[in-house]
Subunit: 318 residues, 3 copies
């Protein structure tokens, strides 16, 4: 879409040469024919280096848009981004494209539904009721149990196991909010990348990234009913047990252990080899190599002391 | 079914003229050819105004049944209601009825299964593996991702998005308990109504109302793995994030925000524009416009103070 | 498989007569042509009575292996068990076997997918999109809503109701860990047994036992989005409400009530007629007949006192 038409549809005037816009990217990741945005001022440093064709930006940051990029100035750049995202969202089911390419020795059950341009490796098993969306790639020897849904554009590695009912690539929970309290969908244009030897339990939900990928690294094992929000990154060989919930953009190092029903706030990092006990609620970034518990989170030893203290206080009051 | 036969099947004797009973309703909602019941004495005021043909009622409230209604007196009216509910439950799949009526420009994938008498609007997309039950109505421009199940009689509005694996209209968790500790199913005869512009994430479960509707109002956005029990009512433009659980008959005002893994007890109200922080457990009705946290729930400020206090106490003990 | 070949594939030398090994069992349950293992020393008493053909065992327990069994001595017997488990795991979909045997008066929707050697009772309803795996048995008058997955070898009793999207028999979360921090799958060779008159809500996940059965006893009612891990045993007429999570090998007596979002650690017992309030986290075995709450768990009365105490402390500090 021409930038002039895009800007018009968003109700924004701009100065500069018109050009073709092909998508949306982050400040860091946007290509020279993509739109980007600055919403959170903590990313202003990244603005200077963006290669994007145009930047949605509030008036006070308009001057910081680098030469070569065109500033699209608006009081609500995030809302305008949401409006723009709809334009670049693909249709839910492509009408044209190739039939799935299925590798040797693969066993695809009758009644599996495929989108277009799917590539399935060798020795893959896909059981009944699965949906494998447009442009999905699945690596060799992966086993997908019944009624799994993999949304368009997601990538699953080799020797993975995905249990029944799990959903990979659903939209992240992203909305811009109007002054009237309505929520405008930020179409989720990224995908999910599951590396090799990952196992995912039953009825999990793993959301696609907003603009980039949600990433599950090699060898990680995920239990049932786990919720992984958009843009999370889970390090190698991590253990994510039943009913864990990770909020958006959480980053786990390698070999992190999350106990049952534990959870995290968003935009934080958990260091490698950290263990979060069951029900632990991670509220800020934490160092690796330690054991944590409680909500708000603390070191596990401290949590034990806290419980002992409360117990003593209760006895005293009797 | 004739009232005489119904009463006989429940083992109850009654006085009065026989009549045809066509269903079950609440004290308030029952029509003049329906059965109703009084179990919780707090609803006794509604008994006086009921239009129901007959009322299941304990001996001590028998006299309060208004003229025009017939008292069906039993020591265990709720248990008898459960027994009666089975009689009025529809078959899981109607054998007769019309093929689905699908509006112009809609794109229904091969392999979508329909019940009878379904009405689909214009510009609707329904992806593979979905089941759309008997008498379901879906509004224009709604998008339903793969492997979604919509039970009979549910209504989904216009411009909604429902992500993969979500279930709408499953039975609420309603049982009457016998003296021997067995649980007799209260067949769930209501439905789910999802208004316009609602988005529901992946692998959610939204139960149908017992006798009325579970209601999700316009513009509300629901994240993944959310559990919404029977008879809940969620106000306009609310935000229900990942793994939230709402117990039965919870009522949320408009623009309520429920943080990740938060939950509510049943039969309570949350005022408009209230925010429940992550993991907050709502145990009684709360005013709108404030921020709450913790379990049991308190104002968020107080929760912060409580955590600071516990921290100080721990330091002192060292 | 011959024991000699099995041992060779695990890199273990052994003394004694070669024999055919047909599967893996627990110390107690293994038959005389099966492999077993000792990992947790608390089971050493059971070692003396095992009938297994061979026992994977650490060097320090090698002498305790009874006559008639062959010791397979290794520093990492659990890791070797995991490696062996892959050998005995069945293929995900049998290629040969009988078409499903479906009893009189059953109503199986078009598009239901069956494995081989399935047996369906009389008066059963199975709705669209379900997958019923190899060797599954389903009892009379059971109703299975759409998009349910039942893995191979599982057994569902009579008059059960299973709501949409639920998964029965997915793999338990079992891994042996290498010194390098990788996780080797312990293939889950047991099954799930659901007894009569059980109702299971929408989008639940019930894992198969590792070597034995996960067992849901008669009359138990399970709400939505519940996670039940491998080898759990749930007593008769229990009530398991929304979003509950049970860790592996948890045993509940009859008529246990688990409130919403409550959970348990693994390998513990909850006595009959115990009630766990919403959000309760059971961390060790508890007596029946009482009401518990909190995390860590305590008696409900004590939890109320604790909250009152904290409230007073907060007031004082003002």
């Amino acid at each position: 879409m021409r930038l002039s038409r895009l800007a018009e549809s968003l109700g924004i005037e701009f100065e500069g040469e018109d050009r073709e816009i092909t998508g949306i990217g982050t400040l860091k990741g946007a290509k020279c024919d993509e739109l980007t945005f600055l919403d959170n001022p903590k990313y202003i440093k990244e603005l200077a280096d963006t290669k994007a064709a145009a930047v949605l930006v509030a008036p006070r940051y308009a001057d910081a848009v680098p030469e070569g990029s065109i500033a699209l100035v608006d009081d609500e750049p995030y809302l305008k981004l949401a409006m723009a995202s709809e334009i670049f969202a693909p249709v839910p089911m492509k009408r044209e494209g190739k039939e799935p390419l299925i590798g040797e020795g693969s066993n695809v059950a009758e009644g599996v539904a495929f989108g277009k341009d799917v590539v399935i490796g060798e020795g893959v098993t896909i059981m009944p009721g699965c949906y494998i969306g447009d442009d999905v790639k699945i690596g060799d020897n992966t086993l997908i149990y019944p009624n799994v849904t993999i949304y368009h554009g997601c990538i699953v590695g080799k020797s993975c196991i995905i249990h029944a009912g799990t959903v990979i690539g659903s939209d992240g929970y992203g909305f811009a909010h109007t002054k009237e309290g309505r929520h405008v969908k930020l179409y989720q244009l990224g995908n999910v990348v599951v590396e090799d030897s990952v196992e995912i339990g039953a009825n999990c939900a793993i959301d696609r990234g907003t603009l980039d990928s949600t990433l599950i690294k090699e060898g990680t094992k995920i239990d049932n009913l786990v919720h992984i929000a958009h843009n999370c990154e889970i390090g190698e060989h991590s253990l994510i047990t039943g009913q864990v919930g990770l909020s958006g953009s959480t980053k786990l190092g390698r070999n992190v252990v999350m106990g049952g029903q534990s959870g995290t706030a968003g935009h934080l990092e958990i260091g490698a080899f950290a263990t979060i006990a069951a029900r632990g609620g991670v509220t800020k970034s934490i160092e690796g190599g330690r054991v944590y518990a409680g909500f708000p989170l603390m070191e596990h030893k401290r949590w034990l002391k806290l419980n002992a203290l409360l117990s003593r206080l209760l006895e005293k009051k009797k």
